[in-house]
């Protein structure tokens, strides 16, 4: 067989661009993280200014770290490794460039819209529908470029890293499209297609698998390339990687409901989530062991080589986080951890340790190679390693401790059976932990800045080569199969087949979890007393979403004595049937609000008015930001009819033609709250024009007073009937 050697060049320019974007957005994302961490210690850092409040910056932090830092990190690693593994240049330089600039444009638009309050209110999927469409387009461009490169490759077999890239691409596409089903009301406002329990299930199917297929599988692919490269030896067990791959992608997709244990999600779905999460431990640790044991016989080099140091800690952090994940999905452990800072600790072991350190390792490996030089300062890189590791420890330990303590305090009863602590007591006990955590975050950020300086100096002392010349034999068109071919080799030669199989594997779990919930009406028992939001309440709810209240307040009372005592009756699935989107939240930095308008939790309108102007006026030592603009900005009535029409389209039973009456009804309800507020003697002259009936605060009060009220009505009716 004649071999035809072909000369070609790898495109390093695109790798360089993504590397720069990774480092810079990483620093930005971490900086915003540090700011939000400090806001919990010094609420004054919210600056009484809407775009800089915690509720808007926290989504900016999570989105920046996930999609800007890790996202660019994925593309950097994929564009470098894919070309080498395929022995081919990226199929189209133009598509590479569109991908790069498109992604950076999305990041900028995302950052601006998020701080301006344009959000869908669904965690890690906050971006509004035009941005969702842009993401889809850029993702398709990335996929096309990747697949065409794979098809035009000169290496017959697809190395395991490429399978992970393929699974990542197809699953993220599926997750993003399914979770982003939303009905646009205007250019930057939409409502989730799903409501309540269904929305929660789809969201956490997405949220969990965004962790799985954006933060994990692409990075596992990168681990399978860069760890063997850095250690200069093949992966420990290729067989393990095959089993690990298929088991991981198949099992991961089922585990989403473990984010919703003890909520109103049907029990069978919760149990399914738990079972698959426990099973997930096996393939996750399969990957970790494979990564770590690749260094067998090379551990002496780990002491010398900073790249390997970062990678070892990254893979170890992956192992810790993926051990903790299944444990957290056990109902008894989840009862403790959920809604507390334990979750924050858990995700940061993953984000700082696994994603952060693997990215740093890749950058330290790539930059000297692409600039044909050696690292400017090993000493500085070692400083980065130690300061970063210390940062992770200082971040995680206080958060674990804080999470445990929050649960201990919130579930503590006195001898005569009353709750021992108010929620504020717990908040006040957290300052030290939050301060230490901020210090941990600061150290991690300082380490990253050391890296940026070090890599910058490395680049300036070297000379960058945009096109790396190389040669490889062309792939023979007619591949002769010799004897009994190994089954997996057949798949490995066919990327499209691989894509279809991966899609089938991941789709099954999603379909099975979701279809029954959508299908069977009995899964969501309706409650007659639960009625749609009035137009004013709906506007108030949109303000609640806009300000990111869900980042600190849950709306989900779990069936525990400590919670029903504190908040009231536990939440039922039927209460959320008109919630587009659901607002259950995932963290209680503040108290649950599901029963804010009912029972013992109910407060007067003037309490809410003053509380939103200055939370410490009603709740001393509260760390909640102030919302002074709600007392001056007016409700945008022009949007209300369109919002009602959208809700009717989504199945909310407003009477026909109600959109035309909505504004009038809204004004009437606002007037009653306005009149009530005027009666109270509190400081009602906030803002330039003082209290007005069309101010946003009125709508928000209407919404907060609605929370839990329907279920109270339902109970009163039942009692009366008896």
């Amino acid at each position: 067989m004649s071999t035809n050697i072909e000369r070609f060049a790898y495109d390093n320019k695109i790798v360089k661009q993504f590397a720069i974007a990774t480092a810079l957005w990483g620093a930005v994302g971490m900086l915003v993280g540090l700011i939000v961490a400090l806001q919990l210690v010094y609420p004054a850092l919210n600056f009484d200014f809407a775009p800089t409040t915690f509720g808007r910056l926290r989504p900016l932090h999570t989105n920046a770290v996930i999609f800007a830092f890790v996202g660019n990190g994925i593309f950097m690693g994929v564009y470098y490794s894919l070309q080498r593994l395929c022995k081919a240049r990226m199929w189209s330089d133009r598509l590479s460039a569109i991908h790069f600039w498109g992604w950076q444009f999305i990041i900028v638009v995302a950052a601006v819209t998020l701080i301006l309050g344009f959000t869908t209110g669904k965690e890690y999927a906050e971006l509004e529908w035009p941005v969702d469409i842009m993401i889809t387009l850029v993702w398709v461009i990335f996929g096309l470029n990747m697949f065409m490169t794979i098809i035009k490759r000169r290496e017959r077999h697809l190395y395991v890293a490429i399978w992970f890239f393929i699974a990542t691409w197809v699953t993220v596409a599926m997750l993003h499209i399914v979770n982003s089903f939303e009905l646009p009301v205007s250019l930057l406002k939409s409502y989730s297609w799903y409501a309540g329990v269904q929305d929660a299930l789809v969201q956490w199917w997405y949220g969990h698998n965004a962790v799985a297929f954006f933060l994990t599988t692409p990075y596992l692919g990168l681990m399978y390339y860069f760890v063997p490269k850095a250690a200069n030896r093949p992966v420990y067990s290729y067989k393990l990687s095959i089993i690990h791959f298929w088991a991981l992608i198949f099992l991961y997709i089922w585990a989403g409901p473990h984010h919703l244990l003890y909520t109103s999600l049907p029990d069978w779905a919760q149990s399914l989530g738990t079972v698959f999460s426990i099973m997930l431990l096996a393939p996750s640790w399969g990957g970790m062991i494979n990564g770590l044991l690749t260094l067998r016989g090379a551990w002496d080099r780990v002491r010398e080589d900073v790249v390997l140091k970062f990678m070892v800690v990254a893979v170890t952090a992956y192992g810790m986080a993926t051990f903790e994940g299944p444990m957290l999905s056990l109902k008894n452990v989840n009862a403790i951890s959920h809604f507390t800072d334990w979750t924050i600790a858990h995700v940061h072991v993953g984000a700082l340790g696994w994603n952060g350190f693997l990215t740093f390792g890749m950058l330290y490996w790539l930059v000297p190679r692409m600039w044909k030089t050696t690292l400017h300062s090993k000493k500085l890189a070692n400083w980065h390693f130690w300061i970063g590791t210390l940062g992770i420890v200082l971040y995680a330990v206080p958060m674990y401790w804080a999470g445990w303590r929050q649960n201990e305090m919130l579930t503590q009863f006195t001898e005569d059976g009353r709750l021992q602590y108010q929620f504020l007591d717990v908040v006040n006990g957290m300052q030290g932990f939050y301060a230490l955590r901020s210090l941990g975050g600061l150290l991690f950020l300082v380490g990253a800045i050391f890296m940026i300086v070090n890599l910058w100096k490395t680049a300036t002392q070297g000379s960058f080569q945009s096109n790396e010349e190389t040669e490889a034999p062309a792939l023979a068109k007619n591949y002769a199969i010799h004897g009994n071919e190994h089954w997996h080799r057949v798949i490995e030669r066919k990327p499209v087949q691989m894509l279809v199989l991966a899609l089938v594997a991941v789709a099954i779990g999603g379909i099975i979890e979701m279809i029954p919930t959508f299908l069977i009406k009995s899964n969501i028992p309706t409650i007659e007393a639960v009625v749609p939001y009035t137009p004013l309440e709906l506007e108030g709810r949109d303000i609640y979403i806009r300000e990111g209240c869900y980042t600190c307040h849950s709306q989900m009372v779990r069936p525990f004595r400590a919670e029903t005592e504190r908040y009231g009756e536990y939440s039922k699935a039927g209460e959320f049937v008109y919630d587009h989107p659901f607002q259950w939240g995932s963290k209680r930095t503040g108290p649950d609000l599901a029963r804010e308008g009912s029972g013992n939790n109910k407060k007067s309108n003037s309490w809410h008015y003053n509380h939103m102007a200055d939370p410490t006026s009603t709740s001393p030592a509260s760390i909640m930001p102030r919302y002074p603009w709600l007392h001056t900005d007016v409700i945008d009535e022009s949007m209300t009819p369109a919002k009602i029409r959208a809700m009717i389209t989504l199945g909310v039973p407003y009477p026909e033609g109600y959109d035309q009456l909505a504004v009038e009804d809204m004004r009437k309800q606002a007037a009653t709250i306005y009149d009530d507020l005027k009666l109270s003697e509190s400081s009602l002259l906030l803002g330039e024009n003082g209290l007005q009936p069309n101010q946003e605060i009125i709508a928000l009060i209407a919404y907060l007073q609605k929370l839990g009220r329907d279920i109270e009505v339902s109970n009163t009716t039942k009692t009366a009937a008896k």
Binding site: R84, Y238, I512
Partner: protein, 52 residues
């Protein structure tokens, strides 16, 4: 227009979970058996791809 309406019409949907579990278990078993039956030479060839 509610999403639920589109799916309600599917009959016998309860068989879905069963089919899925059978698919998963069988694929997983086949993957494990076949993988361990692979020759060392083939594995060695593959695992060295990044280092070539």
């Amino acid at each position: 227009m509610k999403f639920i309406n589109y799916l309600e019409s599917i009959t016998g949907v309860s068989i879905y979970p069963l089919i899925a579990l059978i698919i998963f278990t069988s694929i997983f078993t086949v993957v494990v058996i076949k993988t361990f039956a692979t020759s060392k030479e083939i594995i060695s060839e593959h695992e060295n791809i990044p280092l070539d």
